[in-house]
């Protein structure tokens, strides 16, 4: 694929990890030397790569991970509000992924198992500090909570897949991953 023609202005990109493992972000860094090309084309808003705490108006938002608690909902909504294009990045954001394994158990069972019944935890209590976000009864893929524009599957999607996806998007092409880049793992 020819390098993307530079857009008139740098696009603003925000990224975040909700109920994810940061594996997708690591994969993003795996685009290696393309990172230099990328910073020519985009600038970063809120992201683990920057120190910005609140997301502002952006062109592209990349969401890793599904939605497992109230805070995830707030962050996700903020991203949706500020990003013209919102992308579900990786299996967790697309389907709920590994964290959604808990969905077939009642939440109470999960929490009791972890905080009360684990050996060595006598008198354990389920944390109830108002500072902590409450977990949802089920882990949701992000498209069940906000409108999502694109889905990039894979656990994680490979660096080249992410690079292809972003360069397509930046160049104004509808992102399209050929066979080799598309994985549903």
């Amino acid at each position: 694929m020819s390098p993307a023609p530079a857009p008139a202005r740098k696009l603003r990109v925000a990224t975040t990890s909700l109920a994810g493992c940061f594996g997708c972000h690591m994969s993003f860094l795996d685009i290696d030397e393309h990172l230099f090309e990328l910073v020519e084309l985009v600038e970063f808003d809120r992201s683990p790569l920057t120190d910005i705490k609140d997301v502002g108006p952006c062109d592209i938002g990349l969401i890793e991970g599904g939605v497992c608690n109230a805070e995830n909902v707030h962050v996700l909504r903020e991203f949706r509000r500020h990003c013209k294009t919102l992308i579900a990045l990786g299996a967790c954001a697309v389907n709920g992924g590994l964290p959604a394994q808990r969905n077939h158990l009642p939440l109470s069972e999960c929490l009791r198992e972890v905080y009360q019944f684990r050996p060595g935890l006598d008198n354990g209590q389920i944390p109830n500090d108002p500072e902590l976000p409450l977990p949802l009864d089920k882990v949701r893929p992000i498209h069940e909570v906000v409108r999502v524009d694109y889905f990039l599957p894979g656990c994680p999607p490979s660096g080249p897949a992410i690079w292809k996806f972003l360069t397509d998007l930046i160049a104004g092409r509808t992102p399209r991953l050929a066979n080799g880049l598309l994985h549903y793992d």
Binding site: R81, L111, I126, N128, P130, L134, D137, K138, R147
Partner: protein, 603 residues
């Protein structure tokens, strides 16, 4: 139900024996084995697998595929409410609730004493006399609260089905308009004698001249199909009569089998003569099992009259006989390659085509699959010639068509018309008023709005396998489309991903709208799913599944739009309720322990 011999295994061995321990008979064996105890316990499946020398997984795979085979206990009285949209319009939901209440059980669950289980099933082909149900496979129509009360009482008293009032099981033909086929009063064997006179080649030419096209939906030229099978190599060749009639709203094949069975079997024999086939199957949907005894009797009579078997009508090279194979509640088995798989005793998974059945069908042999009505029609051609047949109807649609009319009209039933009849004329004849829409061709057909009622029934305009469901001004076309989407999601065979996942996603969106969580964004997603299903599905079930939605979205869009609560996006679930369990576990109720469904309310 057959009488119980001494021990179940002896009875089971009897079943296996009767079917010659033949794996291609697996489905028939399972159906009969189930008659012994009402369901298929694990040891029965094991015993069958061992006796047939096939893997147990295969037996389980087949038993798990068909909805009328049960690998979990069901009630000694097994009640299935027909759940087509027309049954719903006649109040089946309320009747089912009433029966459940009276018998103290929940739908889909077995009563603790094992007496009764109640659930729904897809259209049972009694749309002209609904609401309908099957009790242990026997059909009962015209359900009313009174009948439901009586049925509850008889079940409670454990009265055997044979002692239930006979009028319960009377299924009417409701023939309202007859034309050439339904007026035909043929002496059995007359058509056969005529074609033997013509010779095989001459007979095939008559069929070609008649321009007869298949009545099962696709409208394929019958002569071309027969000639291909005839020219294909491989023996013995097979004629299959497709009596799966699973399309919601269709019941004309039921009436032909009930009152015109000789025409159907004679048609199969006419096909055998043209093709040079020696084996025939009638694939009868499980819902019509109650027709078995009388159909077997007709076959016996025909054998005795020399119309089946060896040297038919003394013709030295004409051997042909017919066996009836039962289906077990799977709409997809109406698709001809799935039907053939099912005939071979397997799961009804549609095959990849080509090869087509005419060259490689049942057990790899050349096989003709024709609809019941198509085959019956060939008698007309045999008796009066191809040209006479081609003279009625329209340019591309010769002859007449049976329509199964149901829904909002005064006189539901069977109507036979020459092709080319306008929709408006049909509506008038059956006493429909204030008609808002007509669903022609069943769930997979087309939904016509008022401005289209001048269109005509014909392959070149509105093609149909025969269903004609009428909806008047009091109906909500969204509910209609949603019921059909549920049907397809339920009947998807699960073989290919676009249909397996696509139909259930589509169902999710329709339910989301119905539950009051609809958003404009959903309509875009529905459009996308419609296209995906249409283009990527492996068989006709998946590609037709979005039809009801495509049509109603185009013609009755406000029925969708009035259900939208957001012009953008709306979750399908209540976010705050999703935190309720965590709130309870932590005894929290501070503002941070809540979420608003709409973001704007957060601030």
């Amino acid at each position: 139900m057959s009488a119980l011999p001494a021990t179940p295994t002896a009875a089971l061995d009897g079943v296996l024996q009767r079917h010659g321990h033949c794996p291609t008979e697996l489905l028939q064996i399972l159906i009969e084995a189930q008659d012994l105890e009402g369901w298929l316990p694990a040891q029965t499946l094991t015993h069958i697998a061992q006796s047939l020398h096939i893997p147990r997984s295969r037996v389980e795979g087949v038993a798990g595929f068909y909805s009328f085979l049960y690998t979990q206990p069901v009630g000694r009285y097994r009640v299935l409410f027909s759940d087509n949209i027309t049954d719903r319009m006649l109040g089946n939901t309320e009747l089912m609730d009433a029966l459940c209440r009276k018998l103290w059980i929940e739908p889909g669950k077995l009563s603790e004493d094992g007496l009764v289980s109640i659930a729904t099933t897809s259209c049972t082909g009694l749309c002209d006399q609904g609401p309908a149900m099957l009790v242990n496979g026997r059909a009962i129509g015209q359900l009313t609260h009174r009948r439901i009360n009586e049925i509850a009482e008889m079940i409670r008293q454990q009265r055997p089905l044979e002692l239930w009032p006979a009028e319960y099981f009377q299924i009417g033909d409701n023939i309202r308009r007859k034309d050439s086929l339904l007026n035909l009063d043929m002496k059995p064997g007359a058509a056969l004698a005529a074609v033997i006179e013509l010779g095989r080649e001459g007979w095939l030419q008559e069929v070609q001249k008649s321009n007869l096209r298949g009545r099962g939906g696709a409208g394929f030229a019958t002569a071309v199909k027969w000639a291909s099978a005839r020219n294909a190599s491989g023996e013995p060749k097979i004629i299959v009569c497709n009596a799966d009639e699973g399309e919601p709203g269709t019941f004309k094949d039921r009436v032909l089998l009930n009152s015109y069975a000789d025409l159907v079997f004679e048609g199969m024999t006419l096909a055998a003569w043209a093709v040079g086939a020696s084996e025939g199957f009638l694939y009868l949907r499980g819902e019509y099992r109650y027709l078995m005894p009388q159909l077997e009797a007709v076959l016996t009579r025909r054998r005795e009259a020399g119309l089946l078997g060896h040297h038919i009508l003394h013709e030295p090279c004409f051997d042909f006989d017919i066996r009836i194979h039962l289906g077990a509640g799977a709409y997809v088995c109406g698709e001809e390659t799935a039907l053939i798989e099912s005939l071979e005793g397997k799961r009804g998974t549609p095959r990849i085509r080509p090869p087509f059945p005419v060259t490689k069908g049942y057990l790899g042999r050349p096989t003709v699959v024709n609809n019941v009505e198509t085959l019956a029609k060939t008698c007309l051609i045999a008796l009066a010639g191809g040209e006479a047949f081609a003279a009625s109807g329209t340019a591309q649609s010769a002859g007449t068509k049976l329509l199964s009319i149901s829904g909002d009209c005064a006189e539901p039933g069977i109507y036979e018309y020459p092709f080319g009849v306008p929709i408006a004329r049909i509506l008038e004849d059956c006493g429909a008023s204030d008609t808002q829409a007509v669903q022609v061709g069943g769930a997979s057909g087309v939904c016509l709005a008022g401005y289209e009622f001048q269109r005509r029934i014909a392959y070149e305009d509105v093609p149909t396998a025969g269903a004609f469901m009428i909806f008047d001004g009091s109906r909500d076309l969204f509910d209609v489309a949603r019921a059909f989407v549920h049907f397809f999601a339920h009947e998807s065979c699960g073989f290919c991903t676009p249909c397996r996942v696509g139909t259930s996603l589509l169902q999710g969106f329709m339910d989301k709208l119905a539950d009051g969580h609809g958003a404009k964004a959903d309509l875009a997603d529905i459009d996308w799913l419609d296209r995906l299903l249409k283009n990527a599905s492996h068989c006709g079930l998946g590609s037709a599944a979005p039809n009801p939605v495509i049509d109603t979205l185009q013609k009755f869009r406000p029925a969708y739009e009035r259900r939208l609560v957001s012009l953008d996006f709306e979750p399908a679930f209540d976010l705050d309720a999703a935190l309720a369990e965590a709130r309870q576990l932590t005894a929290r109720d501070d503002p941070g322990a809540h979420l608003h469904t709409h973001e704007e309310e957060e601030k």
